[in-house]
Symmetry: C2
Subunit: 338 residues, 2 copies
């Protein structure tokens, strides 16, 4: 497991043991999501493709893994006060659900213009949990980080960031660990990339299990901050990108996630929104799965020919399936008519 040509994990925020410990905490709590295959996907890629279906994870995305792994490590005093998160997306629901399961309060800071379905889902997870609430803010007037920090301080709650946290990263890495433990060694692993929590955790898990594996991050074309950062050798911050991949609209990777990516990720590629829509259609039509735009990033790179994998065994993380139905219908319907 420590072949001389393997990159060292020394100095990184997480190591192999952190992912194993996260897997133990998540056992019986998170779904061990299924791995699906498709003859058509294999034909398109010219190899053998294994899709790790985190759209079937609890609350519909991998984010539950990291959130639960973080909250499960709270001290008794931290549990008493609870957790706080700022997010309009899957991280919000993940924290709300993990807090509920662990019997602690949660406060989620969300923009006033969040989709009604996401607000409702978050509140549903908080239902009956004393001290839990959604705090709304005006995204054009207020700074969510400042609000989150102020609330955390006032209420003594622990703020859990969406990706740049060792417990979050280790939790997300269990997705790749389960995949490789189930299907065996892989030549390549493609991972959706926003802030880098999923990619960094999966990269560590994959390198331990499949020495020499090529781990590739996939960003939206309009938001290639990590690709730029790798080229620059430092974290580059961009404007909020315009893309349908709303889970990857991050402006910059985190310090902890970027250090792992620099060390373990061979390259970062990008896909267009049109390629994401085409992949959403492929998943619906051929694999009967609902996948959100962000969840299609890794698959799109393979199925649309951005990454070549002829004759190889390739793992693809399908990161989530949370998309409003009217929006989903519009995207797959419009593309179908085109």
């Amino acid at each position: 497991m420590n072949a001389p040509d393997l990159p060292s994990l020394a100095g990184l925020a997480i190591g192999a043991a952190d992912i194993d410990a996260a897997a133990s905490r998540l056992a019986g709590v998170a779904h061990r999501t299924p791995v699906h295959t498709s003859r058509q996907a294999d034909e398109r890629a010219g190899g053998r493709v294994f899709f790790k279906c985190e759209n079937f994870q609890r609350m519909g995305a991998f984010k539950f893994r990291g959130a639960y792994n973080a909250l499960a490590q709270f001290s008794a005093a931290q549990r008493e006060r609870g957790a706080i998160a700022f997010s309009s997306g899957n991280h919000a629901q993940a924290i709300a659900l993990a807090a509920r399961l662990l019997g602690m309060p949660s406060v989620i800071v969300m923009p006033t213009d969040s989709p009604a379905a996401k607000l409702a889902a978050t509140r549903e997870y908080q239902r009956g949990q004393r001290g839990s609430e959604v705090v709304l803010y005006d995204r054009y007037q207020e700074d969510r980080e400042a609000i989150g920090r102020r609330l955390a301080e006032q209420r003594g709650m622990t703020l859990i960031p969406p990706f740049d946290h060792p417990h979050v990263m280790a939790g997300q890495g269990t997705a790749a660990a389960e995949l490789i433990d189930e299907v065996g060694p892989l030549d390549k692993l493609l991972v959706c990339l926003g802030g880098g929590g999923l990619l960094s955790g999966c990269a560590v898990a994959a390198h331990v299990r499949a020495p020499g594996i090529e781990v590739i991050g996939v960003e939206p074309e309009a938001g290639n901050d990590v690709q730029q950062s790798l080229a620059a050798g430092r974290i580059v911050k961009i404007d909020t990108p315009r893309t349908i991949a709303d889970g990857a609209q991050t402006q910059a990777a985190g310090a902890l996630t970027f250090a792992v990516i620099q060390r373990l990720v061979r390259r970062v590629v990008t896909v267009s929104d049109a390629q994401l829509v085409s992949t959403m259609r492929f998943f619906a039509e051929r694999m009967k799965m609902v996948v959100e735009p962000t969840g299609c990033l890794a698959a799109a790179a393979l199925l649309e020919g951005v990454v070549e994998a002829r004759g190889q065994r390739v793992g693809v993380i399908v990161s989530g399936g949370n998309v409003d139905l009217p929006r989903y219908a519009e995207l797959i319907g419009a593309a179908a008519a085109a």
Copy 2:
């Protein structure tokens, strides 16, 4: 396994051994489809619900099981000439794929106005298979059964009907067998019902594995021929029903399937098209699965409160996921906007 209160299987077209033999033939060929669960579904039903996901089966529906089980039992002479089927739906694709896998020709008789996607999918399965073709007929002028029989006679091919055949019925029954073998005994099993191939096979498999289980068939409201037949004590034939459940637009059950249903199925209930659409949305939004209207029949009866199951363990067969994307988008999008 032969408790005195168990209905006898004597005289029926299939028995327990036929389903076990089918399972052996299908091992490593058909997908052992996953069983999904959902907290929301459990809450709605007030029990524990296990969804057997045949939408993830090869070619997207349970029909592959019966088709392959039938073709795999062909004699050498039959294999040489191949199989013929008349169907515009999942049975067509199932026969085409099973024939290809077994290296024999297939002829599929389809109406000229079949959806382009289904025509294309069937032809894709036949690609490169000598002697295979799609024969089109005018559904308003010609009789598909007569065409099928004539072609079968002329070419010496074996006609495989979509449901009223022991090998087809036994193959379909492996879905319920896998479900109960995986999750344990159930109080109720809900099964989508068109011609009765799936229901009859599953009823036999379920009664052998879970004595006393209540097996319920679910038909579209507009096409309740089997419900009428059970009341009349004989097979009732109805006009082709108007329903979005295109896989259950059968006019009458078969002689073999009805005999099993009369003996082993406690009751048949119906659901409306609106309830099917609501259930399609539930599957997409909550369980991230694409399910065709017909595939929602059994689930709709439970989730829409037609069948009560408080405190019970309930199996639900999700029969397929083949629906044209524009149509699917229209159904889930329109319902979402309503």
